[in-house]
Amino acid sequence: MSSEAHHHEDHSLAGKAEKHTGVNAARCYQCGKCSAGCPMANDMDYPPSVILRMLQTHDPVMEEKVLRSMSIWLCLSCEMCIGRCPQEVDIPPLMDWLRQESIKRKMTNPKAKKIIAFHKSFLNTLKQNGRLYEVGLIVDYKMRTMALTQDIDTAPGMLTRGKLPLIPEKIKNLKQMKQIFEKSFKNKEEQS
């Protein structure tokens, strides 16, 4: 992105990302330190520095590949990349924005189904209780993923160690919690 481009509305994915996150992908000079340090790079279809390069092209084909990638869902937000980037390209918030954009455009990678389901189940329990309710989270997650037998050997150990409360702890002001969710998610569909 040239400096003149800033004066016009930039419709590229990189331009929109910068508008929402303040992160300028064009600053990346492809040293690859982020990809070298990224603990998930091995499992990614495109390591972080390649995602940045794809954004730099402003090519709609590349942009769609980014939004359909598994990489954006595998990012753990461990912040190693920003710790090492000589150009201070803040990748984690960029990844957050790309994930949300991918959901908006209905382009999520099919292999990310379990990861997305977990996040949604997590938020669902928060909306209902204001706090995490592990049992509710796991039931909601299993319903979404049909991973019914997963971790059935872990749950008893958690129970006997007093690590799995069976009754949810609810906050008092659930009305406010509901309001926070409603105002945050302008589009209801993205929430469920």
Binding site: Q100, F118, Q176
Partner: protein
Amino acid sequence: MKIGLYPGCSMEGGSKEYRESVYAVAKAFNIELVNVPDWNCCGATAAHNLNKVLSLALPARILALAEQAGLEEIVVPCAACYSRLVMTQHELSLHHELKEEVVDALGMKYEGSSKILNVIQFIEKYILPELEKKVSHPFAKKVACYYGCLLVRPHKVLQFDRYDDPMTMDNVMNKLGADAIDWAFKVECCGAGFSVSNTQAVATLSGKIMDDATHRGAEAVIVACPMCHSNLDMRRPQIDKYLGRKTKIPVIYITQAIGMAIGIDKKELGLQRHFVPVDLILDRKQIVAEENVELTK
């Protein structure tokens, strides 16, 4: 002395022993911890992955409630909650429009004035000055202090310790009589929130951490984050499967280690709640007795 506490959800469930040990140590040093009233979940990974406003509004509610209750300083023992709270305070101090949107979602006043302490900062400020004279059971073991990600990164915002080779926890352990070793995985990621949705990734990343700790002769891994703890402790069967051998090193919260060294009862520190048993013996008389048994064999 009264200090605010944001316990966070894990400490009420999956990492109950962390809460128990934080309280036990605070009590031993005459510190009263006061919960942020009606606190909610910080939103964790799920919120910032799926919705930016929500990811700021949830921590902002906690901070606003702390302000209302007049808690100027709050301790946040979970590294992930700590990160979300500090990041929110930082974002909202920089972006006025975003702050207005968040305040509107909350429907309450938010200043962003609370001082947020992670557990190590809390220990350094309130425990460390009195610590050495209270040590009755020196933690004479080789330990690997594991900081993980969110206590030290992003450094520009958190401004805590050195992000690549932090030493604050090592210093605390050395004061307890331990030998904190130099190792390579201090700030590597354990797999974080993937415990359920991508367990294999957790087994691999946490496996590498346990592997290095084992090779360097660590007798315990010391942590300050419930997510790190559950991945290294509860996910040990998956870790061992990945490594192809059994690892027996226990994973201990820094507050549990302090408690053990100052002679707090094991149960009060919740040590029995771990999946990997904590068999470390710190009592000198007991060590001598065990050695005598060995010799007579």
